[in-house]
């Protein structure tokens, strides 16, 4: 930068035709001295590089010495421990939705702290449904109903328990759970969907006559619901 500035000023000086020779000599002297300084800096950088290398070598030696000292003081630096430490840094849990680094629990059990946020428990259980972790989802929703039986989302949780079984093609327990939506939460917003699903469960179980009864009830009780339109198609 300095160089180019000097060159510009030099050209100006020449162009304007004033001063001239003395000024020219002064500026070329300055350029020479800059070049000399640059060379010195280069040399110094090279020296510093090798110094860094040497110092790093010293640091490694010291670190090795420190390790042996620590070991003698009772601290263990075993490879196994180091590996365990390293495993902590493996990038398994990543992104918006993380798998448990320890893997899925052998016996699904919703571990709920004493001060549980009902919405968080409900959302986590629903996420397990969408990911196909049905056992975890069922455990979570059952825990939700146990802890918050009067919550606004209780009928939804009961519906998702039915859905958790239905998705696994376990139609008998699914029917039982959907029945609870109708029986325990009558008039709530999941009732039409539960009635429709009860019909589907019965259809899958081979009881088409009873399935039709539920769909007829749905069309009669909730004629404007989307499920009533689906049930009407089934009744044709």
């Amino acid at each position: 930068m300095k160089k180019s500035l000097l060159l510009v000023s030099l050209s100006l000086a020449v162009f304007m035709g004033c001063g001239m020779k003395k000024e020219y000599i002064r500026v070329t002297d300055q350029l020479d001295s800059i070049e000399v300084r640059e060379k010195k800096i280069d040399r110094r950088t090279a020296v510093m590089d090798s110094l860094i290398q040497i110092q790093m070598g010293m640091i490694y030696e010291l670190r090795a010495e420190l390790r042996s000292l620590s070991a003698s003081a009772g601290e263990k630096w075993s490879i196994a421990e180091q590996q365990q430490e390293d495993n902590k840094y493996r990038p398994l849990p990543i992104g918006p939705n993380q798998p448990d680094p320890k893997g899925p629990a052998p016996e699904p059990k919703a571990e709920v702290p004493s001060e549980t946020n009902p919405k968080k428990l409900y959302d986590a259980s629903y996420l397990d449904i969408t990911k196909g972790n049905y056992d975890l989802a069922l455990a979570g929703f059952n825990e939700f109903l146990k802890r918050f039986p009067k919550h606004d989302l209780a009928d939804n949780a009961q519906y998702w328990i039915g859905e958790g079984y239905y998705a696994q093609k376990k139609y008998e327990p699914a029917l039982t759970e959907f029945e609870k939506v109708v029986g325990n939460y009558p008039g709530k917003d999941k009732e039409p969907a539960a009635l429709y699903k009860m019909g589907l469960c019965l259809q899958e179980m081979g009881d088409k006559a009873k399935a039709r009864q539920y769909w007829q009830l749905l069309v009669k009780k909730y004629p404007k619901s989307p499920e009533a339109a689906l049930a009407s198609d089934k009744l044709k």
């Binding site: 390293d86 902590k88 969907a193």
Partner: protein, 430 residues
């Protein structure tokens, strides 16, 4: 001697701080936060291949692609030796463990060109500095091909993280050419671009069949809308849906057994489920409104879709029987093009914000509406199979290009340079 002990005390203080400081940071990390492995990338050792300059050039080319893949994967934080110090990280041709530890690396990728009999091979190995042993080693042909480089990246990702990488995945999209739009296929980074169709017609909305062997898309080649399947290996096409009226927005179910699609055969646009094998067609939605653009949940039990039943386009979720419909989006007056994350938790979509279309995400619970793009119009988001990245089309540089980014909106980059690129669909891991 005294100086040595002073240095030792000083150093032990630093190391203790380092160790305990690191543990403290680790404890603060929750599972939802990103953790990356610090991976050093050693310079290519090519003493054995001095007589094969072409192999050296090819290997360098491959290493550049591998570096880009590993950095984009989000599993690694790459550590390169400082350019000032040539030969850094190697001591007498061997890995200088201390030097890499000083740079903060925990593992180091060591690329070597080796002469084996009459053949030159590119050996890639990874050395773990913690346990001080090699944790990965594989020989590759240094042919300079992008496919070989991407395959190497995915092998490294799988071995070091246990996860499937997306480096070898492809993106299909629709490219405007005069009055027509033809389907194109590119690597996930835009390389290896090739045409899939040459129908001299409009071909849009590609959707990958699970497994990646075929694409379903909407074609106007018969001067009407048909849903067509294209076998990528044989190039053969077959019409999947040709009902009266519109046949649009195909979406394969995760098990590949059924196709959700939008048909207007009964008057207005509704979502149906088609079994291509049995030809069984089942109607899922039934309203006076336009229902379209279905996208599956990863368990194949639910669909997010677009409906203007509240008076403006909004996102809804229903199960695959068409029951239990509920509204997902309430923010903004125009939300379309939903795409359900393979991780299950988020839905990417397009929202009109201040008169422009922007890619956003929302949790499946309806919480956390997040805007990811800000410049130009950004449309048609599609998730990578690992749910960590998105591709989309953007007009921010003047014409529509295909872009990619991470799930949180970071690292946005264009992967095409021909204008008129729309509707990308990120293919599966194969």
């Amino acid at each position: 001697m005294k100086i040595k002990y002073v240095l030792l005390i000083l150093l032990s203080t630093i190391l203790c701080q380092n160790v305990f400081g690191r543990a403290d940071v680790y404890l603060k990390l929750s599972t939802s936060e990103r953790r990356q492995l610090e991976l050093g990338i050693a310079p290519l050792q090519a003493q054995d291949a001095k007589d094969h300059p072409e192999a050296i050039v090819n290997a360098q080319k491959m290493l550049e692609i591998i570096g880009d893949d590993l950095a984009f994967s989000l599993y690694f934080k790459l550590v390169y030796p400082p350019s000032l110090l040539e030969g850094y990280g190697l001591k007498k041709g061997r890995l200088d463990i201390g030097a890499w530890q000083m740079l903060g690396a925990r593992q180091v990728l060591i690329p070597e060109l080796k002469q084996e009999k009459k053949k030159v091979i590119l050996k890639l190995s990874v050395f773990d500095l913690g346990i001080q042993r090699q944790v990965f080693s594989k020989d590759f042909e240094p042919d300079g091909s992008r496919a070989a480089a991407h395959a190497a990246s995915d092998l490294i990702i799988k071995n070091l993280s246990g996860e499937d990488g997306v480096s070898s995945t492809k993106i299909a999209f629709s490219l405007k050419s005069g009055k027509n739009k033809e389907l194109m296929l590119a690597d996930y980074d835009g390389g290896g671009l090739r045409a899939l169709t040459n129908f001299n017609s409009i071909n849009i909305s590609p959707d990958w069949q699970p497994g990646g062997g075929a694409l379903a898309f909407v074609s106007f080649y018969r001067n009407r809308t048909d849903i067509v399947s294209l076998n990528l290996a044989s190039g053969q096409t077959a019409i999947i849906s040709q009902t009266e009226g519109l046949n649009t927005s195909p979406a394969w179910s995760p098990d590949g057994k059924s196709l959700a699609l939008t048909l207007s055969k009964d008057g207005n646009a509704e979502i149906y489920l088609l079994s291509p094998e049995t030809k069984e067609l089942r109607r899922l939605t039934n309203s006076w409104a336009i229902d379209c653009s279905p996208s599956w949940s990863p368990n194949g039990r639910e669909l997010v879709f677009n409906s203007d039943r509240p008076g403006s386009p909004q996102l809804y979720i229903m199960d695959s029987e068409g029951a239990n419909i509920r509204r997902l989006t309430y923010q903004g007056g125009y939300n379309t093009s939903p795409s359900w994350s393979p991780r299950g938790d988020k839905i990417a979509f397009v929202s009109r914000i201040d008169g422009r279309f922007q890619v956003c995400t929302i949790d499946i619970t309806g919480d956390n509406f997040v805007q990811l793009t800000y410049e130009g119009d950004n449309e048609d988001p599609s998730w990578s199979p690992d749910g960590l990245h998105l591709c989309f089309s953007s007009s921010r540089t003047g014409s529509h290009q295909i872009w990619r980014m991470h799930w949180d909106g970071s690292a946005q980059q264009a992967i095409t340079n021909n204008g008129g690129s729309y509707m990308p669909a990120w293919g599966p891991v194969q």
